[in-house]
């Protein structure tokens, strides 16, 4: 019998599980996939939004700004890359200027710190590679970028270290409540009982909730497609185009690893698992991106991807206890700025759970998590490490400079990688310009040996995505 079951190990579920693991609670987090972070959390802009965008006086605005402020400490504790690189919303004409002023006012109301309008001169001083013709911009210094799957994985891993049980390949088929006890059953027939259920199942959110009762909300999937370009010092801030009657435009941002992300568009999809990219979608994105950064060279593209955001019609998040079923909490419809809001959301949920369970904070909670980022070490530190473990002297992924030691670490950690993409999301082997062309054979070998698999059993990503036959 568990105290809490969290369904879904995306950024929301992982944040909640980690937050609750600070208390003397028996927690299980389940995911239908073979690893954490396989839905919207792995395929988004990885932006920690300042909070200039949400309508004022909404929960979304509040959680956005609160969440934003929590990122430094969270990422530092968990060894996750994070940078407050600032954002610019750039305007090209008088109409845009008006809109920017409205956004500034909204920022002030939302409590966004340091937001101000800057003139054209200051814009180009900050970002010399922007397209000519920008008249002014809203500068949001608190906007940041984060390693989003590193964060999700780190949160879940830290939760596990603090006693949370993780079950992968657990696709919830049935949820029943008998008295005060929930029974959550998987498609494989595994059953877990608990006192509280937290539904953080992203795009599946409505389906999961409706396993126990009818819902009034309506979650729809909106696909966003992206380009991921090779490393280049083209922009340092996150660049948004001022929204206008022609739409919102796309963003161009550096990633914490120095690549450039361009996207997303926003198209309704029937199938929430539809992460395909389309020729038309990509063409549209590249065209729009060039409006703000005309020096972008799409020949430097190294990967296209798409993610499906779960949205409810109201533009609000659905966070709270189910009105009909006590102790069943929905944390769903968390579209942008969900990543930014996620630590604040988990605080909200924690307050409810603590009150309901009357639980106590643990004395032995481990809040820190270490990870080796070899290339960031000094020469002395590198040599010390190699002295101790020779595998750190062997570069396997040449594009990203990732050592064998880091790959082994990513496989051997709690919640270690079980797939080629899992290794990539944990330590970046294969994330570079050759996309694993050179190192995939070696990573496969390491996974195979560490996990005692045959070559044919090693998968790229999902179950069934075997690389060899």
């Amino acid at each position: 019998m568990r105290d809490v079951i969290v369904i879904g190990s995306g950024i929301i579920g992982s944040n909640i599980a980690r937050e609750l693991s600070k208390y003397d609670l028996k927690i299980t987090i389940v995911d239908k996939e073979n690893d954490v972070c396989k839905g919207a959390s792995k395929a988004n802009s990885a932006i920690v939004h300042g909070g200039h965008d949400p309508e004022s006086n909404t929960l979304v605005a509040k959680l956005n700004v609160e969440g934003n402020e929590m990122f430094e400490e969270l990422c530092k504790d968990l060894s996750v890359p994070f940078k407050r690189n600032g954002a610019l919303v750039v305007g090209f004409n008088d109409d845009d200027k008006k809109t920017l002023n409205e956004l500034l006012n909204r920022s002030i109301k939302n409590g966004v710190k340091g937001a101000r309008i800057i003139n054209s001169e200051e814009v180009y001083k900050k970002e010399p590679n922007l397209t000519a013709g920008i008249v002014s911009a809203l500068f949001v210094p608190s906007s940041g970028i984060v390693g989003v799957y590193e964060l999700t994985i780190a949160l879940c891993e830290n939760a596990i270290v603090n006693g949370v049980q993780f079950k992968n390949n657990f696709c919830v088929k049935e949820i029943n409540k008998d008295g005060d006890v929930f029974t959550v059953e998987s498609e494989n027939g595994d059953k877990i009982k608990s006192k509280i259920v937290i539904n953080a199942s992203g795009i599946e959110g409505q389906k999961t909730s409706e396993l126990i009762c009818e819902e009034e909300f309506d979650i729809k999937g909106y696909k966003g497609e992206y380009y991921l370009l090779d490393k280049e010092n083209l922009v340092t801030s996150t660049i948004f185009k001022c929204p206008s009657k022609h739409g919102k435009g796309v963003l161009i941002t550096p990633t914490v690893h120095g690549n450039i992300i361009v996207g997303p568009n926003n198209n309704f999809v029937e199938n929430g698992e539809d992460r395909t990219v389309s020729k038309d979608g990509l063409e549209d994105i590249s065209k729009k991106a060039l409006e703000t950064v005309d020096k972008l060279d799409f020949r430097n593209n190294i990967r296209n991807f798409a993610g499906v955001r779960a949205k409810v019609g109201t533009n609000e998040f659905i966070i709270g206890e189910n009105k009909k079923i006590e102790s069943f909490y929905n944390v769903v419809g968390i579209a942008s700025p969900g990543l930014t809001a996620s630590p604040a959301i988990s605080n909200m949920v924690r307050e409810w759970v603590v009150e309901k369970m009357g639980c106590k904070i643990k004395k032995d909670f481990i809040n820190k998590r270490e990870q080796t980022y070899f290339h960031e070490l000094s020469i002395e530190e590198k040599n010390e490490l190699i002295e101790k473990d020779k595998s750190y002297g062997q570069i396997v992924c040449r594009c990203e400079g990732i050592t064998e030691g880091e790959i082994l670490e990513s496989i051997r950690r709690p919640l270690g990688a079980v797939t080629i993409e899992g290794v990539k999301r944990r330590c970046r082997a294969g994330a570079g310009r050759c996309q694993g062309g050179f190192c995939q054979t070696r990573v496969l070998e390491l996974l195979k040996n560490e996990k005692g698999l045959s070559s044919k059993e090693v998968v790229l990503d999902n179950n069934g995505s075997n690389i060899l036959v």
């Binding site: 380009y227 991921l228 698992e273 992460r275 395909t276 990219v277 389309s278 020729k279 990509l282 799409f298 020949r299 593209n301 190294i302 990967r303 296209n304 991807f305 020469i379 590198k382 040599n383 190699i386 002295e387 020779k390 595998s391 002297g393 062997q394 570069i395 040449r398 594009c399 400079g401 310009r433 050759c434 996309q435 694993g436 062309g437 050179f438 995939q440 054979t441 070559s455 998968v459 790229l460 990503d461 999902n462 179950n463 069934g464 995505s465 075997n466 690389i467 060899l468 036959v469």
Partner: protein, 420 residues
């Protein structure tokens, strides 16, 4: 630790340039290789067809590499395997990393950049669709099959009819993977004719010219690939889709010189070749740093790499041997005229030329019965007739010292029609 020459890369270019420098009298030579053995990609190119120019016999890739390995064994050339070069600093210090030395800084009086090239990926051409397993570059597949003894799939389609794509079509067929076709964007194949015959015709594999992949379908492992015919602008034509039930798609969509190492260096780079700018001596804009092989520009045949690398090795010997002050600085820039996409070298120091200098270049489209014209200062220096030129085939012309002395600071090389 100081070396007279540090060669970065132990593939065909690195081996041939290091060997040539040593033979020309350079004493302390170090070749740094990141892989577990030298020979580079030749080791996985188990097919024959190499060496007709260099050794006057037809060899397989491993045999070609073995010849150089055997020659190097007879020398005092030092080789460091499993070693990554992390950076080259302004003092020509080479920062290396391996398990034995750790992170170590070694000094080179001269350096040859011979890092080879890498394959373009799916991302570079933004193929739409899902991202399942079973989509991989031809070279990665070649490594799985030829070095690791693995099977990459049961039914395959290949995008790109360059030589690697063609060779892999045959190789997969022989290893029991059914190859349903090779798809080529252009209206002609980029591969050698003999590979079309030996690798496709022999195995009844259809070649779809003027086609490209327009969709990749499959959630986990690849299930289907859709190809479409393209128009004269290489845009897919709606309604021409063909569907293939395959679990494997190999990409052979071009090679790019691998020069990540020089990103932080102050060294002239040529965006056309994606390699560094060199002069007649294969020397870069940084004195004492040379480049050759596929890191400099992508070659059609390894034999040409060896020839170029040998030249780079000789130049290093000259560089280390002579008093540099005596050499004049009359520099000629080679300008790409109509029809040329690039030249290597990009510049020539006339005073350093002994008798002749070979200039390699590529053209931008298919040409029949044309002339290559060499001009300087509006004056025609020389012209050569060509029946047939293809973008996929590297061209070479020889400029003599006499010719160069008639030129001012710029030479234009261009393609013109035959005069009637």
């Amino acid at each position: 630790m100081t070396y007279d020459l540090i060669v970065i890369g132990g593939g065909p270019a690195g081996l041939a340039s290091g060997l040539s420098a040593f033979e020309e009298g350079v004493n302390k030579v170090l070749i740094i290789e990141r892989d577990v053995e030298v020979g580079g990609i030749l080791n996985q190119c188990i097919h024959n067809g190499f060496g007709l120019h260099t050794f006057k016999e037809e060899l397989t890739g491993p045999e070609y590499a073995q010849k150089y390995i055997d020659m190097i064994k007879e020398t005092d050339i030092e080789i460091k395997l499993n070693t990554m070069v992390m950076k080259i600093d302004d003092e020509k210090n080479v920062h290396i990393l391996n398990s034995e030395d750790g992170y170590k800084v070694i000094k080179g009086r001269s350096i040859i950049l011979a890092m080879g090239c890498r394959e373009r990926t799916r991302g570079a051409i933004s193929i739409p669709g899902s991202r399942p397993a079973g989509v991989l570059t031809a070279g990665t597949a070649q490594k799985y099959v030829n070095m690791l003894g693995e099977k990459v799939g049961n039914k395959a389609l290949i995008l790109g009819s360059g030589d690697i794509g063609l060779i892999m079509a045959r190789r997969l067929s022989l290893e029991g993977t059914e190859v349903l076709g090779v798809v080529e964007l252009m209206e002609h194949s980029n591969g050698l004719t003999r590979n079309i015959v030996q690798c496709l015709d022999d195995y009844d594999i259809p070649l779809y010219l003027s086609h490209t992949v327009t969709n990749i379908i499959g959630d986990n492992r690849l299930e289907k690939v859709i190809i479409s015919k393209v128009d004269e602008n290489k845009k897919p034509i709606e309604g021409t889709e063909k569907e293939f039930d395959v679990d494997t798609l190999l990409l052979s969509v071009g090679l790019i010189p691998e020069n990540d190492l020089i990103n932080d260096m102050d060294i002239d780079f040529d965006n056309r070749t994606k390699g560094v700018v060199v002069n007649e001596s294969m020397e870069t804009s940084v004195e004492g740093i040379f480049s050759c092989g596929n890191a400099l520009h992508v070659h059609d045949l390894v034999d040409f790499v060896s020839t170029e690398a040998k030249e780079a090795g000789r130049s290093v010997a000259k560089y280390l041997g002579v008093d540099k002050k005596e050499v004049g600085k009359k520099e000629i820039i080679l300008k790409n005229g109509v029809g040329l996409t690039y030249t290597v070298p990009q510049k020539i120091n006339v005073d350093k030329v002994e008798k002749i200098v070979g200039v390699m270049f590529r053209v931008n489209k298919i040409y029949e019965n044309v002339k290559i014209v060499i001009e300087s200062n509006g004056k025609k220096i020389k012209e050569y007739n060509r029946d047939h030129m293809l973008p996929a085939e590297m061209e070479k012309i020889i400029l003599t010292k006499d010719m160069l002395e008639q030129c001012n600071e710029e030479i234009e090389i261009k393609v013109t029609d035959m005069e009637v």
